[in-house]
C-alpha cells in the first residue's frame, strides 16, 4: 500500500458506483459507492464529518420502524441520509463543494479521495524533483503505475473527455501511492497507515482535552509520516508545520499543538471539509457533551444547564470543584458533588481511550452495552430501579461517544426515540448484527 493510501485511508478497492460517476464525477473520476448500512456487517464506522449525498443509497434503506408497520406515516429518518452511514472516504464530488477549493489544486498527485486516478491533474501538478530529494519519495508517474499494477484496468479518460462519459471503473488507490514511510515505533502500528485520518481524529480529541500517551505517540507517528510525505512533494509548504506538530506531540504539548492543528485543518486540502473549523466544531461538541453530563444528574434546572453549557467550556466543567459547580448551577453541594463525580468519571474514561479512529470500537461497545441494559430492563420485574439507572448510564455513554464524534444531528434525530428503537437504529447504522448484540 502506498504512502498516500495510508495518508488518506479508505482505499479499500470497493466497487465503483457507475451511476454516481455518470451523474457528475469530477474529471471523469468514478466514486466509490458507499456501502449501505444494511449491507455493512462489521466495516469501519463512517466519520461524522462526512456528509451523505442527497442521492445517498442509505436514504432509501427501510427504517426498522417500518417493518411490520407499513404506511406508518412520515418517518423523519427517511428524509435524510444518516450521517453515520456515509462512506468513510470523501468523494471528489463532495470535497470541493464543502472545502470551497478547486479540486485540481487540492489533489496534485493525480487521484481523488475515493481512489480514482486523475491523469491530467497528476501530470500537471506533479512536482519536479528537487536536487536534494531522493527520487523514491516522489509520487510515481500515474499512467505507468496503473498499467503496471492493473493491466486489465481501463485507462483513465483523457482530460478533454466529458466527465459523464468517463469510464466509471476506478483505478485502485494503491496504484497512485508512493511507499509508506516506516513508522516511528511499533506501538503506533496499523494506525500510521492512515496518518491523516488519525491526525484529524486526534485533533478532534485534543480539542476536547488531554488524551492518552498512546494517542500522542500515534499522533507523533502520523505527523512524522505526513512530514515525510511533505518532503516527498505532497504539500511541501506544510513541511515545517508537520515538523512542529511532530515535535509538540512528542513533547505532549497539547495546548501548543492545538493552534497548529487548527491551522492545518484549514490548510491541508485533504482535511475533511466538515472537520475543518476545528475550533467552532469543537465548541459545538463541547456544548453537547456538557449538556449530556449535566442532564445525567436529576435536579439541575433546565435553564441553568443550558446557560452553563453555552457559557462554560468543557475544561471548565472538568476542572471545577463541587463548590464552584454548586455556586454556578445554583444547586446544593451534594448534587454538585454527584455531578463532579460523573464528570471526573467521564474525563478519566475519555483520557484512557485507546486508539480508535472514528470511535468505531467505542461506539460499537456502547451500543452493545445499551442493548444489553435495555434487555435487562425489559426483563426486570417490579424492582426495575437499578436496571433503569444502568440503562440510563449506558444511554449516556452512547450519547457522549456520538457527541465526541460530532454526530450532533444524529443525536437530535435519536432523541425522540425509545431506547430499544435507538439501539435498532444505531445497530443498522454501524452494521451491528443481532447476533453480535446478543
Amino acid at each position: 500500500m502506498g504512502l498516500l493510501t495510508k495518508i488518506f485511508g479508505g482505499g479499500d478497492g470497493s466497487a465503483p458506483d457507475t451511476e454516481r460517476a455518470k451523474e457528475g464525477g469530477v474529471n471523469g473520476a468514478a466514486h466509490a459507492r458507499p456501502a449501505l448500512p444494511a449491507e455493512r456487517k462489521s466495516g469501519p464506522v463512517p466519520r461524522a464529518y462526512e456528509p451523505a449525498p442527497k442521492s445517498h443509497p442509505a436514504a432509501a434503506v427501510e427504517h426498522p420502524r417500518q417493518h411490520g408497520n407499513p404506511g406508518a406515516g412520515i418517518d423523519p429518518l427517511r428524509r435524510r441520509a444518516p450521517l453515520i452511514g456515509a462512506p468513510s472516504t470523501l468523494t471528489m464530488q463532495e470535497f470541493p463543494v464543502q472545502a470551497g477549493r478547486p479540486s485540481s489544486m487540492t489533489l496534485p498527485l493525480g487521484f481523488s479521495l475515493d481512489g480514482a486516478a486523475r491523469a491530467d491533474a497528476a501530470q500537471s501538478a506533479r512536482p519536479e524533483p528537487r536536487p536534494s530529494e531522493p527520487p523514491e519519495l516522489l509520487p510515481p508517474r500515474l499512467e505507468s503505475d496503473i498499467v503496471a499494477l492493473d493491466p486489465s484496468a481501463p485507462r483513465a479518460p483523457s482530460s478533454d473527455a466529458p466527465a459523464a462519459l468517463a469510464e466509471p471503473e476506478p483505478v485502485r488507490m494503491e496504484a497512485a501511492q508512493p511507499a509508506a514511510p516506516e513508522p516511528l515505533d511499533d506501538s503506533s502500528g496499523a494506525e500510521t497507515e492512515r496518518p491523516l485520518e488519525l491526525l484529524v481524529d486526534l485533533a478532534q480529541r485534543l480539542a476536547l482535552g488531554p488524551v492518552s500517551d498512546e494517542w500522542l505517540t500515534a499522533g507523533t507517528a502520523a505527523a512524522h509520516a505526513l512530514k515525510l510525505a511533505a518532503c516527498g512533494g505532497w504539500q511541501p509548504h506544510l513541511l515545517a508545520s508537520f515538523e512542529s506538530l511532530e515535535r509538540l506531540l512528542a513533547e505532549g504539548a497539547r495546548i501548543r499543538a492545538l493552534p497548529l492543528l487548527w491551522r492545518l485543518s484549514d490548510s491541508v486540502p485533504e482535511w475533511p471539509a466538515p472537520a475543518r473549523s476545528l475550533r467552532d466544531s469543537s465548541r459545538a461538541r463541547e456544548r453537547r457533551i456538557a449538556n449530556e453530563l449535566l442532564a445525567s444528574v436529576d435536579g439541575l434546572r433546565l435553564r441553568g444547564r443550558q446557560l452553563f453549557a453555552a457559557e462554560k467550556t468543557l475544561s471548565h466543567l472538568v476542572g471545577s470543584t463541587p463548590e464552584l459547580l454548586a455556586e454556578e448551577l445554583d444547586t446544593p453541594i451534594e448534587r454538585a458533588q454527584e455531578l463532579a463525580r460523573r464528570v471526573a468519571s467521564y474525563e478519566a474514561e475519555r483520557r484512557a481511550r485507546p486508539i480508535d479512529i472514528g470511535h468505531e470500537t467505542a461506539l460499537r461497545e456502547a451500543v452493545i452495552e445499551l442493548d444489553r441494559r435495555q434487555r435487562q430492563f425489559d426483563a426486570s420485574d417490579e424492582s426495575a430501579r437499578a436496571a433503569r439507572q444502568e440503562r440510563r448510564d449506558a444511554l449516556l455513554r452512547v450519547n457522549l461517544v456520538l457527541a465526541e464524534r460530532g454526530d450532533l444531528a444524529l443525536l437530535d434525530e435519536l432523541e425522540p426515540m425509545a431506547v430499544a428503537e435507538r439501539v435498532e437504529r444505531l445497530s443498522v447504522l454501524i452494521g451491528l448484527g443481532v447476533g453480535e448484540r446478543a
Partner: protein, 407 residues
Amino acid sequence: MAALSLSAVEERVRRGEDLSRFDLRNLNLAGAKLAGAKLARAELDGANLSGANLTGADLRGASLREAFAPRASFGRALLAKADLDGARFARASLERADLQLANLNGANLEEANLEEATLRHAQLVAANLTGARLTGANLSRADLDSACLAAAVAARADLRAANLRGAQLDGAELSAAQLEESVLERAFARGAKLEQASLRGALLADADFRETILEGADLRNARCAGIRLDRSRVLGAHVHGLDFGASWPSELPVDMCDLSRNADGSDLRRLADLGAVPGGAALEIARRYVGPGDVIRNAELVIGERAEILVDGRLEQCVIQMTDAAILVIGETGLLEGCRVSGGRLQIRGQFVAPGLVGLHSPVELRVAKTGVVATELEQHLRATRFGFESGCRLRLQIKTTTTPSE
C-alpha cells in the same frame, strides 16, 4: 391493524372517531392536533408527541411508554391508569389532568405543569419532577420513591400518605402542602419551603431538612430520628409529640415552637425543650403510635414505665395495662371501643366508648378535652384519680371508688 399517518390520525380525531386501542406506536405525531381525541387503551409507546395538543383527550389505560412529549399539551386529559413509564414530558402541560393510578416511573416531568392534576396512587418512582408546577395537585398515596422534586412548586399539594422515601425536595415550594402520614425517610429537602405545611405523623427519619423553612408547620407526632435541622426555621411550628428517637439533632433551631397538643399556641417553647414536657417525646420515652385508619382488635397491650401510646386510629375490645407513669393519648380521630384500660394517665381528645363495663380501671389521671367523648365506668386509683374536664366535652361516666381485696 395498519398504522396511521399523522394527518390520518388528525383527520379521524377531527371527525370525532373513536381511536380506542389503536396501535400508534413509534408514530411521529409531533405537533399533532388531537384535542379531545378518544384514545383510551391506545398504544402510543415511543410515539413522538412533542408539541402535540391532546387537551381533554381520553387516554385512560393507554400505553405511552417512553413517549416523547416535551411541550405537549395534556390539559384536562384523562390519563388514569395510563402507562407512562419512562415518558418524557419536559415542559409539558398536564394541568388538571387525571393521572390516577398512572405509571410514571422514571418519567421526565421536568418543569411540567401539573397544577390541580390528580395523581392519587400514581407510581412516580425515580421520576424527574425538577421545577415542576404541582400547585394544588393531588398526590395522595402516590409513590414518589427516589423521585426528584427539586425546585418544584407544590404549594397546597395533597401528599398525604405519599411515599417520598429518598426523594429530592431541595428548594421545593411546599407551603401549606399536606404531608400527613407521608414517608420522607432519607429525603433530601435542603432549603425547601414548608411553612404552614402539615407533616403530622410523617416519617422523617434520616431526612435532610437543613435550611428548610418550617414556620407554622404541623410536625405533631412526626418521627424524626436522625433528621438534620441545621439552620432551619421553625417559628410557630407545632411540634407536640415530635419524636427524635435515640439521637437528637446536633444542631437544633432556637425558634419558639408550639408544644401544645391542640396546636393552639398555648405552649410556646424552644425545640430543645421538647424532651422536658409530657407532650414532647423525651429521649427516654418509648412511644407507640396508632395512626388514622389503623384498627387493632382483641389485643392485649402492656405499656411500660414512662411509655406513651398515641391513638389516632381505632382500638376495639382491647385490654391495655399501663404503669402509673405511662401515658395514653386518644387523639381527635382516635376511638377506643369496648376496651379496658388499667392504670396510667389518660388524655382523651377523641372517643372512649365502653358502656356497661369498667373501661377505666384505677387511672392516675383522666383529662378530657372539649372534643373528647367518654362513655364508660371508672374505678378510681387507690390515691384517687385526678380529673380534668374541658368545657364542651361529652361524658357519660360512672365513677366508682376502688374496690380493694381487703375491702
